[in-house]
């Protein structure tokens, strides 16, 4: 999977987990400022990433990501 495909898939997963329209999201979207940052939603997102991308990301690692792009970096490191 190349970076563009990964980003597209992660954006879809974020949209599902945070109940947002995927067209309103980008790799620049910030979890805390733009999405509200509730930890329960992040837990859901991590589960979706595990299910769909077969990658385990620790919550502390995901919670430290400022943007969706940062999260993609962490996922890429684990793939």
């Amino acid at each position: 999977m190349d970076r563009k495909e990964l980003e597209a898939q992660v954006l879809e997963l974020v949209a599902t987990s945070y109940n947002k329209d995927v067209d309103d999201l980008s790799v620049e979207t910030k979890f805390k400022e733009d999405l509200g940052g509730a930890s329960v939603l992040m837990v859901g997102l991590i589960s979706e990433i595990e299910n769909e991308l077969d990658v385990t990301i620790q919550l502390q690692v995901a919670a430290a990501c400022e943007t969706i792009g940062d999260l993609c970096d962490k996922i890429e490191e684990e793939m």
Binding site: A38, S39, V40, V43, G44, I46, S47, E48, E50, N51, D54, T56, L59, Q60
Partner: protein, 333 residues
């Protein structure tokens, strides 16, 4: 009879199945053994069954007191995965769940989620963070709340409140600076916890430095906003405020400061702190100057009872927390 004696007696009436993913820990095994042989719970040790059995024998216990579940029993694991993934609103699918179940804590929580145990008890080797994270992803949050929090039960000598010398207080341990939604969640969870544990009719006060608008500013606004959310989400519960501590628990002060009908003012049995600075200081004041016994913190906000204990806790305290969690689970049925 102390409050703990009453809770222990209640546990004996209906012993619950408690899953222990840290049975290899000597203190945890001893607490589980004592709680089982004294009739409060039925202990299920989760891990490497042969190792757990050998350890129990080596430590001089009757090995038949425990039920053992082996996390490498593939048939049972497959059965659990099938049941779990069939549950509504679970997020993890088969492959991800299978990977997570290599971990004893998460295996035990899957057992609880499908109803094979009523409680998961951990926290002596795993951190509180591990327990909360596993609980959030495997057991899930109660749909009425936004956050995991905690409640403690204080037994205060020479205090005579609306529940005798007992007072529930929260959150003194988990949520640092809850926003209004989260503060409302703490109040709702606290009411449910005390209903299930002691059968109380909750009278829950949102604590503030202001009573009914006597102060103004963002600290008051936060508590007022939380109160409005809690009352909207659970109109069936008596949650009221914003109240100063004395207006919440002293009828004479409430009569002067709260000039309206309130089932809570002066009669509160549950106090909800506005943040963890207040909560942590509050519980230490009660313990230091009020010479209170403080039980807990009990985690709350999960779909089922998940219990954590301090890593430095002695066996007697672990046993007390196991029994409290079992009574809460029985009370939720």
């Amino acid at each position: 009879m102390s409050v703990l004696d009453g809770i222990f007696a209640k546990a004996k009436e209906n012993p619950q199945k408690v899953g222990f993913p840290e049975g290899t820990n000597e203190k945890m095994m001893q607490a589980a053994y004592e709680a089982t042989t004294e009739g409060y719970i039925k202990a299920v040790l989760v891990g490497d069954a042969a190792e757990l059995k050998a350890l129990a024998a080596e430590r001089g216990y009757d090995v038949d007191v425990f039920e053992y579940v082996d996390i490498n029993d593939e048939a049972y694991k497959a059965e659990l995965i099938a049941k779990y993934t069939a549950l509504p609103d679970t997020k993890l699918k088969e492959k991800a769940l299978n990977r997570r179940m290599a971990d004893k804590l998460q295996f035990a929580m899957v057992m609880q989620a499908v109803g094979d145990t009523e409680v998961t008890f951990a926290g002596i080797d795993y951190s509180t963070g591990d327990v909360i994270l596993a609980g959030m992803s495997i057991i899930g949050l109660n749909p009425n709340v936004d956050v995991i929090s905690s409640i403690g039960l204080c037994e205060i000598p020479n205090w005579e409140g609306s529940e005798g010398n007992l007072l529930a207080i929260g959150d003194s341990a988990v949520c640092q600076n809850p926003n209004p939604q989260e503060l409302a969640s703490i109040a709702i969870s606290a009411c449910e916890t005390m209903q299930s544990l002691l059968g109380w009719t909750p009278r829950c006060a949102m604590i503030c430095y202001s009573t009914d608008g006597s102060g103004i500013g963002e600290l008051v606004d936060k508590v007022k906003a939380a109160l409005a959310i809690a009352q909207e989400r659970r109109p069936d519960l008596d949650i009221d405020g914003e109240f100063q501590l004395d207006a919440a628990i002293k009828p004479d002060v409430a009569a002067k400061k709260v000039k309206r009908e309130s089932k809570v003012a002066g009669q509160a049995n549950i106090l909800i702190w506005p943040d963890l600075n207040v909560g942590n200081t509050g519980v230490k004041l009660i313990q230091t100057f009020g010479h209170a016994n403080a039980y807990g913190p009990m985690l709350q906000g999960f779909n089922k009872v998940v219990c954590d204990c301090s890593r430095g806790a002695p066996v007697s305290e672990i046993k007390g927390n196991i029994v409290i969690s079992a009574v809460r689970a029985a009370g939720l049925k």
